[in-house]
């Protein structure tokens, strides 16, 4: 099955074919078999985390505040003007550390230790969407244009550590060598198609639970609060950090938000609360001028995630 730049590819010798049946628009979450009381969320769609407050800019009345326009990737520097410095942490750092990482939903997020083809090591974040599948960024599973001989291509392995909190691994670790992405990333290196998946050799996601995911229209996303929790490299090793606020803007392939992140959070879920469940709407991948961005879960992305979850 081909689907343009969303054509699914794998590092496995036998290509998986897409099911013929039409897929639903939304896939539901699961809190997993581990049990316990899930963390609460606020009425405006953010996780209820001690120490986290909604950004001050969002308390300004809408008529007095103009949302930043989307830094459309196809107009590049023209959108930014003269090269300014970009910060993936914008203004005050609003991230707060999650310490009860064995509880849902935090245990859905996994710290990733990536070993590239040249044995260089990297850190990233992934999130369960099913018993044996985690979503992450395409550049986590397949390296493009590294400029280093022997580094490009599918990574060698990824150690997956769900709910990690420093040296504490409440669900242990599992190593995968089984990855998915799409040709828009693996062949073209186009950041609009920067998403992928890790398939693990166990059913650990049935214990931790997973996030749902869905494809949402622009108007709905633009009035939605979103949440990101991941494993940044500027904090104590293996600690999970959270921030959340409203979506800044969207384009057909990306979602932009002023949520603080740092290197190591590539692949994190950008998720919303919907009907009491948590649903990924994008895959965090880049830091930008005034907003960070993630690969939007469009219908084509959704279809691939359903395929990879099976």
């Amino acid at each position: 099955m081909t689907n343009g730049p969303h054509t699914a590819v794998s590092n496995q010798p036998v290509e998986i074919t897409a099911p013929a049946a039409e897929q639903a628009v939304f896939e539901g979450p699961s809190e997993g078999a581990q049990g316990g009381s899930p963390a609460a969320f606020t009425s405006d769609g953010l996780e209820q985390v001690a120490g986290h407050t909604r950004a001050l800019s969002e308390s300004v009345p809408a008529e007095a505040w103009t949302a930043p326009s989307a830094p459309l990737p196809d107009i590049g520097e023209a959108s930014f003007g003269p090269p300014d410095m970009l910060e993936t942490v914008h203004g005050p750092d609003d991230r707060v550390q999650i310490t009860d990482t064995a509880a849902y939903p935090w245990r859905v997020n996994a710290s990733l230790l990536i070993t590239a083809a040249d044995n260089s090591q990297w850190i990233g974040t992934g999130w369960f969407i099913g018993p044996h599948t985690l979503v992450t960024a395409g550049h986590v599973v397949h390296i493009k244009h590294s400029g280093v001989p022997g580094r490009d291509g599918w990574v060698k392995s990824i150690q997956v550590m769900p709910g990690r909190n420093g040296t504490f691994l409440p669900f242990g670790a599992v190593t995968s060598t089984n990855f998915r992405s799409v040709t828009g990333w693996t062949a073209d290196g186009d950041e609009n198609f920067d998403y992928g998946a890790i398939v693990i050799p166990t059913e650990l996601g049935a214990v931790t639970g997973w996030f749902g995911f869905g494809s949402w229209p622009d108007a709905d996303l633009l009035k939605t609060s979103v949440n990101i929790s991941g494993y940044p490299g500027d904090q104590p090793p293996g600690t999970q950090w959270y921030d959340g606020r409203g979506v800044s803007s969207v384009n057909p392939l990306k979602v932009f938000y002023d949520i603080d992140t740092a290197g190591g959070q590539s692949g994190s879920a950008v998720y919303r609360i919907h009907n009491g469940g948590r649903y990924g709407i994008a895959v965090h991948a880049y830091g930008g001028l005034t907003t960070n961005s993630g690969t939007r879960i469009t219908k084509a992305v959704f279809d691939n995630l359903v395929l990879w979850k099976a």
Binding site: P71, P73, G76, E77, F80, P83, D84, M85, L86, E87, T88, V89, L113, N119, S120, Q121, W122, I123, G124, A137, H139, V140, I143, K144, H145, S146, G147, V148, D188, G189, D190, E191, D194, P232, G233, D234, Q235, P236, P237, T261, A262, G263, G264, Q265, S266, H284, A285, Y286, G287, G288, L289, N292, S293
Partner: protein, 92 residues
Amino acid sequence: MTASGGPAVRLVTGTVLDADGAPVAGASVHLADGPVPLPDIAALTGPDGRFSFPVGADGVYTVACRTADGRGARAAVAVGPAGAPPVELRPG
């Protein structure tokens, strides 16, 4: 690991060193800021303390590191058509 799909890749390279000038293994290094959107991934230094990041545009980038014992360092590096000088990060 670059946002650029084009061939014009330049490298930001460097080494994490301790106070005695010895390489530091296991330090997390990432590009904290720069002139274009950057992949939000971090490198872990190997036994030689070295790291390298591809970048797709000229400009000034900030490289930040954090060691396993919590020490950090940052440095700015200018990337031009000829590339960039190697960065030395010495966490304090």
